[in-house]
Amino acid sequence: MAQATQDTAIRTGRVTRTLIYLVLLLFALFYMLPLYVMVVNSLKPLDEITGGGMMNLPEMWTLEPWRKAWSEAQIGVEPTGLKPYFWNSIQMVVPAVALSTVLGALNGYVLTKWRFKYDTILFGLMLFACFIPFQIVLIPMARVLGVLGLAGSVWGLVLVHLVYGIGFTTLYFRNYYAVFPTELVRAAQIDGAGFFQIFWRILLPSSGPIAVVSVIWQFTNIWNDFLFGASFAAGDGAPMTVALNNLVQSSTGVKEYNVHFAGAILAATPTLLVYIVAGRYFVRGLMAGSVKG
């Protein structure tokens, strides 16, 4: 990954620069537009939206849509609001992220410091698994979750996200440990340190940055997943994205756009917070997932 921060040597004239700034600002508006629409409309009464005021600031500011989206709105058949589904997502994300990151770290350590025959082929198989269209595993996965008694439950989703997340976490740690000096590992081995001791004392202390990348990537992906949630956990065990979609698509009663927008922001808040707090690592994760090495 090119991390150099040198500026280009290209020089531009005043007119060109003005145009460049103009285009950049226009695109900034384009990217901000949906967020603006969501925020302002989640804070106004419904009639201000239906009356044609979608782009206006609220005339009457209200938090009522937020309260409704969180604890009252009709999701499926129950008027529970999004709250229970938000907790479903938390319960799904925390173990899935933790387990996949730990396994990814160990795998990366083995694949770089304890190399064996055909390890690259195995890694290639794991890597390809990151990119398969998940439609290809939906049917057998539904069967297996049913047999294991995990269908419709948060634990079923934990298993699914663990299985399909390991490829990426292994990729991160493998690329990171690949440049870690192997001599240190060999020296420790000669001193009699074992497999786990070396990992614990030598590699782990310097793994902070890549662990952050892995956690953020997994968190964002798993939180935002819809396909697995919709396929395996519709109903009470549904994650936030599925519940939000149910809320927005429900065809009964008046469409409460302001509540939909508030719900959408609620679903977006955790990943947005992560992005705001640790955006640098988020971008590194994205890049490592595409431009390897």
Partner: protein, 297 residues
């Protein structure tokens, strides 16, 4: 003697530990990825309907699939969607990266603004655009209340144009990411060559066309692979934005597979469509991953 045997055992254990540690992940991968792929491929040759069933029907599901107008629509939509999505994202990403690279004041402020959509769920993106583009309450209605009575923008409800609203929302979500990939590439380019070419009197246009953009080849390749694979997997965005409609106007292979498998009880055909999706992605990803892994050796 005893100590030697113990030492032997210890070294042998040490040799086995790495493989033992790796084995749960490998086992999971072999079963849940490759085993499941094999199972789905097998199902695509069976008469499975609501539940998996094991009556062998040969290529029947595939020949049925290719005769379905629903599948044909999905593929046509995929061609339009993937083509425009990849081209537009790449164009916008490259342009923004080049512009941001001109010692722009506020770059540190603009970059995160361009990239944040990538952190959102497609369901959130779909919800926001769905209502913004809705003629009844969104842009069209706003323009009417602002006095532009004849303004009309009903693409999301229009069979011929709905697919373009999916492209719009998808471009909004990922073009910032493509920008970041190109920007990283631009920042890695050696300024000395540029300075030398400038001395020779090369114009900025020529510098970009002849020196800089050719050097971004790896970034172009990565962007293409990532975008193509995202396009083929697009599912949630369509569900949230249009639900595949109006009619079937925005159905894609991923939504086709889902509805045939889970709501229309045609699991055999659903499995066949999933196999075709996998083959398409494999045709793009395998050469790319192969090249990446070989390079690193």
């Amino acid at each position: 003697m005893a100590t030697r045997a113990e030492a032997d055992f210890r070294t042998r254990l040490q040799n086995w530990i790495p493989k033992l540690v790796l084995s749960p992940s490998l086992a999971m991968m072999l079963v849940f990825v490759y085993g499941f792929i094999a199972f789905t491929v097998y199902l695509s040759f069976t008469d499975s309907r609501m539940l998996p069933s094991y009556g062998w029907v040969g290529w029947e599901n595939y020949s049925k699939l290719w005769r379905l107008s629903h599948w044909e629509i999905s593929l046509t939509n995929m061609a339009i969607f993937a083509g425009l999505y990849i081209v537009i994202c790449t164009a916008i990403g490259l342009m923004l990266a080049i512009f941001l690279d001109q010692k722009i004041r506020g770059e540190g402020f603009l970059r995160p603004l361009y990239l944040y959509p990538m952190a959102l769920s497609f369901i959130v993106t779909g919800t926001a655009w769905k209502w913004f583009l809705d003629p009844g309450i969104g842009l069209e209605n706003v323009m009417h209340t602002w006095g532009w009575e004849s303004f009309s923008f009903d693409w999301i409800k229009n069979r011929d144009f709905a697919i373009y609203t999916v492209i719009l929302a998808a471009v909004w979500q990922t073009s910032g990411f493509v920008m970041a990939m190109f920007l990283a590439g631009l920042r890695g380019i050696d300024n000395e060559i540029l300075k030398a070419a400038q001395m020779d009197g090369a114009s900025n246009w020529n510098l970009y066309r002849r020196i800089i953009i050719p050097q971004l080849r790896p970034a172009f390749l990565s962007a293409f692979v990532i975008l193509a694979h995202l396009a083929i997997k697009t599912f949630d965005l369509v569900i949230a934005l249009t639900g595949g409609g109006p009619g079937r106007a925005t159905e894609l292979p991923a939504t086709f597979m889902y509805s045939y498998t889970f709501t229309r009880n045609q699991m055999g055909i659903g499995a066949a469509s999933a196999v075709i999706m996998l083959i398409t992605i494999a045709a793009i990803m395998i050469p790319y991953l192969y090249a990446e892994l070989r390079e690193k050796k």
